[in-house]
Amino acid sequence: MNYLFLQVLTGLQISALYMLIALGLTLIFGTLGVVNFAHGALFMLGAYFAVVISDAFGFSVALVSVPILLFIVGIILERGLIRFFYERSHTDQILVTFGLAIVIGEVLKTIYGANNLPFAKPSWGSGIVKLHEYLPFLEGFVAYPKWRLILVVVSFSTVAALFLLLQFTRFGLIVRAGMRDSQMLAFLGVNITRRFTIVFGIGAVIAAIAGLFGGPITQVEPELGMKLLIPSFLVVVVGGMGSLPGAVLASLLFGMALSFTAKYAEIQQIIIYLLAVVILLVRPRGLMGKKGLME
């Protein structure tokens, strides 16, 4: 029982970070049609901002300012660069965003060096939680790092907030409609590009949240963006390009797979790729992908 519970919890914690990065990726792909390889770099930028601001002014200041900063960075990137690639091929989009990711990585390396920046957790997030005190079905002493639990809570709350925004607001209705048929929205007078710019900003905010809460766990170094981008991109493809529920489902699947193979290192290293191959062979559009899209 204890083993099972802890593996599930660890699985959730691993999924949490993939989920946040994959959500941003798939949100941007679903609306703008852009395969954004710079998304990992945005996450990394979020983590660096978080370390620097947190060291200087404390974590609570970082908590407020990093998402705002990344929102601004996102808007500038979309207006200044990405929008010129909407009509171009996916290959061009991948090249330009991949290039951008390299530039961001190198700039960070120049400023802060190639080594890991220590990210001190705030005092309220340090230590462990004695789970057996809250969950009577656990036997004996069962503890879990507090920060990892916080990451799980934050990431699922972010997912919930995004779903509420999309499902129950006027803005969300427009974005959902735009994801399905942006041309028809234009025929109905809606300037969808303006909304999609904001969506890009929201994607960057989610990356900021991932950086803030994921940074203390992943280490903050200039290769971080790429390290997380590849599995997150796989999450998006397996979930179905442009499908938000698909991204959530696929990240849970990957998280659980990684957690439950932890005892077998050789399998753990390849398990998500193996899963991806099997799923995509059986279902080329991904778990919840739309028919005909990137199939």
Partner: protein, 240 residues
């Protein structure tokens, strides 16, 4: 700037439109009077739908030259969403009801941008079937109901020019009658309309006048009756 007298309320001047390098609309010109209903006819591949999409200012086909005026306003300088705000409402081929949205959401989305037409309550009064299904996923409705919604969605906006692309396509004959009845009602509203339809007879029943396109050019412009009475014209261009 062209004057917008009644006879050239909507004016198309020598438009040329391309899909990539394919030259589809090859210098089409015509005028439509305010309140007039025009059937835009022609064989498959004559450029009817492409013309209609060009008039609605779709990004694709690309309008390379020519001018389009609606009530004196230059549509050819506009993007699709600007043309829609200027009063052009396209009811596209395949209806393009937005999947994943309810009937009501499909109507709400039509009123996000200015200018509003009918209030949603008024739409429900005229289309009680849509009222019954307001909370239903719109694409789960039958083809006829979706066509009804597509027309209603256009009415939810201020319409100065209604562009109907194949409104009867893929519908059973009995449903075609139902949509015909709706369009006859819309006709009473006095909205200037261009209707593209494979079913030329059905379109001509509704229309005051007709334009026949042939390989991207206007081959005939006259009254609906002239087309119905002219056997040669029908055989050459419409195969009816």
């Amino acid at each position: 700037m062209s004057m917008s007298d009644n006879k050239s309320f909507f004016s198309v001047k020598n438009i040329h439109a391309y899909y990539g390098e394919s030259y589809i609309v090859q210098g089409v010109s015509f005028d439509v009077a305010e309140g007039e209903i025009v059937a835009l006819l022609g064989r498959n591949g004559a450029g009817k739908t492409t013309t209609l999409k060009t008039l609605a200012r779709a990004l694709d086909p690309k309008l390379r030259s020519g001018e389009i005026y609606l009530g004196g306003v230059a549509l050819h300088k506009m993007k699709a969403h600007e043309a829609a705000q200027a009063g052009v409402q396209l009811v596209p081929e395949d209806r393009r009801i937005i999947p994943g949205l309810t009937v009501e959401e499909n109507l709400i989305i039509a009123q996000v941008a200015p200018n509003k037409g009918w209030e949603i309550d008024r739409i429900y009064e005229h289309f009680p079937r849509l009222a019954e299904r307001r909370k239903q996923d719109a694409t789960s409705m039958s083809g006829g109901e979706q066509q009804m919604l597509a027309v209603a969605r256009a009415l939810a906006r201020e319409v100065k020019l209604l562009l109907l692309d194949e409104p009867y396509e893929g519908l059973a004959p009995i449903i075609v009658h139902e949509i015909e009845a709706i369009l006859q009602e819309v006709k009473k509203l006095g909205i200037t309309t261009i209707i593209v339809e494979q079913n030329a007879v059905a379109a001509l029943k509704l229309a005051d006048s007709a334009i026949i396109l042939d390989t991207g050019e206007v081959a005939f412009r006259g009254t609906a009756k002239e087309v119905l009475d002219n056997k040669e014209l029908r055989e050459e261009y419409l195969a009816i």
